[in-house]
């Protein structure tokens, strides 16, 4: 015998209210998820302790320091020149730029940063811009791969390989370049180098356009990046973000323009700015920066004093025996040069007592060196202002409210490197 039962069917708004009421009791059960330190999306050894309410992040506590080597302590125990190889290992995606930043800081302490030979300045600028492209490419490739676009990763690594070849041609090493010296460079670039850079620029522009077609208007890419991880202008300044992360929020600050060093004031380039400060803006800023870097590279090959082969023997080192090493020929034949070489190697460059801070526009942001000297060839205190460390400190503010699948996107858009963050 069938029984008839009344079923109450309410409208959808009432049902939603009822569901919300029922869910009330389910709240309060939060889950703590430990992400890292060896998670594939953190690209390095960043650990984040996430507090989750369902799929929504309610609290994020970044934990850094897994790659701490004590670089600042090490720097206090060696001469200025001996520390150059350690700068390779800060931001290991752009060692050439780190070398330049460190050399410029020590040269500022010596008071010779304005006296660098012009050829040296142009070569250093080219190194910095190549490093910027290399670092942005890796950041972009890894970023895209974390969101599922693996092709980009393969494309950018082909281009990075060419930059490694250029670094090898100039310095002899692909990764640990140590190309700069206090007051100059390890050696001049080989005669064919500028032609290779030109060829790289031509090929790279094609690849960059291809990457652009894969990502910039890709529906999935845009949907995942837009309006996510929004950093307002005020917040970016308050957290002292730097580099593309600061400019992505629309703050017009680029040390190459605002505090020009080397020969940047003679070069024509634009500073890319975002408007909203979301992940998509930061991506766009990096893309534009790479295009501007190519523009700078092209101008440098045109303008480099001494030409490509340097037939006129333009110097690349400051001609001061108390700062840069004399030529080996002179050391073997002249007493004065022999003494200079001996003093430089055993005691280091004799720096005056005093303190300087030099900030350099590195791919990741402002890499600063604060050097406190008591005179002599060893710093009393060397503080590294690591852009990745400071850019990461905003994570605790940026993550809450985002979904768990947004974590790799936010991390990728901030583009950090732990070797630099942890020093």
């Amino acid at each position: 015998m069938a029984t008839v039962q009344d079923i109450e069917i309410r409208d959808s708004a009432a049902r939603a209210a009822q569901a919300a009421d029922d869910m009330q009791d389910l709240h309060g059960e939060k889950m703590v998820l430990n992400m890292g330190p060896s998670h594939p999306a953190t690209h390095g050894v960043l650990r984040i302790v996430l507090e989750l309410d369902g799929e929504v992040i309610t609290k994020a506590d970044p934990d850094v320091g897994y790659l701490h080597r004590g670089d600042e302590k090490i720097a206090e125990n060696m001469t200025y020149t001996q520390f150059i190889p350690y700068t390779d290992r800060l931001d290991y995606l752009a060692p050439l730029a780190n070398n330049v930043a460190y050399a410029l800081a020590v040269e500022k302490l010596l008071g010779v940063d304005k006296d660098l030979p012009l050829r040296c300045q142009y070569i250093r600028v080219m190194c910095c811009e190549l490093a910027r492209i290399s670092a942005h490419l890796l950041g972009l490739g890894a970023f895209a791969m974390d969101t599922g676009a693996v092709t980009v990763f393969l494309l950018v690594f082909t281009e990075r390989e060419k930059i490694y070849n250029l670094a090898e041609a100039a310095s002899g090493a692909r990764l640990t370049t140590s190309y700069t010296r206090i007051g100059g460079l390890m050696r001049d670039i080989p005669p064919t180098w500028c032609a290779q850079v030109k060829q790289f620029c031509d090929e790279f522009e094609v690849t960059l356009a291809e990457v652009e077609t894969l990502l910039t208007r890709n529906r999935i890419w845009v949907d995942r990046l837009r309006d996510l991880g929004v950093v307002s202008k005020e917040m970016a300044i308050d957290y002292a973000l730097s580099g593309p992360n600061l400019r992505g929020s629309g703050v017009n600050w680029d040390l190459r323009k605002n505090q020009p060093y080397l020969c940047y004031k003679d070069l024509d380039f634009e500073v890319a700015l975002g408007s909203v400060g979301d992940c998509y803006d930061r991506y766009m800023v990096r893309m534009e920066e790479m295009r501007q870097s190519v523009r700078i590279l092209r101008q440098c090959i045109e303008k480099i004093p001494g030409g490509w082969a340097n037939d006129k023997k333009e110097p690349v080192n400051i001609p001061d025996g108390k700062i840069t090493l004399p030529s080996k020929q002179k050391v073997l034949t002249s007493m004065e040069e022999l003494i200079h070489q001996f003093m430089l190697v055993t005691e280091g460059v004799n720096c005056p007592p005093g303190e300087v801070y030099f900030g350099h526009e590195n791919p990741k942001g402002e890499l600063g060196f604060y050097i406190n000297s008591k005179g002599g060839g060893v710093p009393y205190r060397l503080k590294i202002r690591a852009p990745s460390f400071i850019n990461l400190s905003i994570l605790g503010e940026l993550m809450p409210g985002a979904m768990i699948s947004d974590v790799p996107v936010i991390l990728g858009s901030l583009d950090f490197v732990m070797g630099e963050s942890d020093r």
Partner: protein
């Protein structure tokens, strides 16, 4: 506004406790005599335009009093003017007011200085170690901390036991031994741990291994 004008403005506001601006390589440095006032000075500096805190560093003036110097690098984003503030604090106090309420970026800088130098920041809500691990007993950036490090008794955090995977297919340990057995420069902590002691005894050259830190050792006080 130039850096010198800004320095004069700060000096006019706080008077005696601010030193005459010193210039070196085009950078202006102001010394704040009273470390207790540093947060107020920073707040005033922010109100006259220094909205960007570039960096906070610390210096250990070992053998001199006061022992610590804390250095603040400020910048005004609109015009790029930069200024440096320094303040000294003695070892007995080892505490300066936090500037976290002025710039939020100070959070990690202050944690790092606490971690590396052992200077505390009054009013910091979350003063934990950041680069070293929680429970690490030393402050490694101090001048009396040897470059080679120090052995520590905290076995649970500083030294680990043999990994459970040791000898497995993906673990490459030279000779299948742990570091105590194969590494001549290994530091062995003083310990009552039976298992650890057994491994030390197993080494042939275990004489004088205990409590040894290799390197230049501690600096003699002047």
């Amino acid at each position: 506004m130039t850096a010198l004008e800004a320095a004069q403005k700060i000096k006019a506001q706080f008077g005696e406790i601010i030193s005459e601006p010193a210039e070196f390589r085009g950078e202006i440095t102001l010394k704040v005599a009273d470390a207790e006032k540093i947060a107020d000075v920073c707040r005033f500096a922010k109100s006259i335009g220094f909205d960007y805190l570039v960096d906070i560093s610390s210096i250990d003036n070992y053998g001199n009093d006061p022992r610590w110097t804390v250095v603040y690098h400020l910048r005004a984003i609109v015009n790029g003017v930069e200024i440096r503030l320094k303040t000294d604090v003695s070892e007995e106090i080892s505490e300066v007011p936090s500037v976290l309420s002025v710039w939020r970026t100070a959070n990690w800088h202050e944690r790092e200085i606490y971690d590396m130098m052992g200077i505390r920041f009054k009013g910091h809500p979350d003063l934990r170690r950041i680069l070293m691990w929680e429970g690490y007993p030393y402050y490694p950036l101090r001048k009396d901390f040897p470059l080679a490090g120090k052995p520590t008794d905290l076995l649970g955090v500083a030294f680990t036991r043999v990994t459970p995977m040791e000898g497995g297919p993906f673990v490459t340990v030279a000779g299948g031994n742990d570091s105590i057995a194969r590494e001549p420069r290994v530091r062995v902590p003083e310990s009552q741990d039976v298992e650890l002691n057994a491994r030390v005894e197993a080494r042939k050259d275990n004489k004088e291994m205990r409590g040894q830190a290799f390197g230049p050792g501690s600096i003699e006080k002047k």
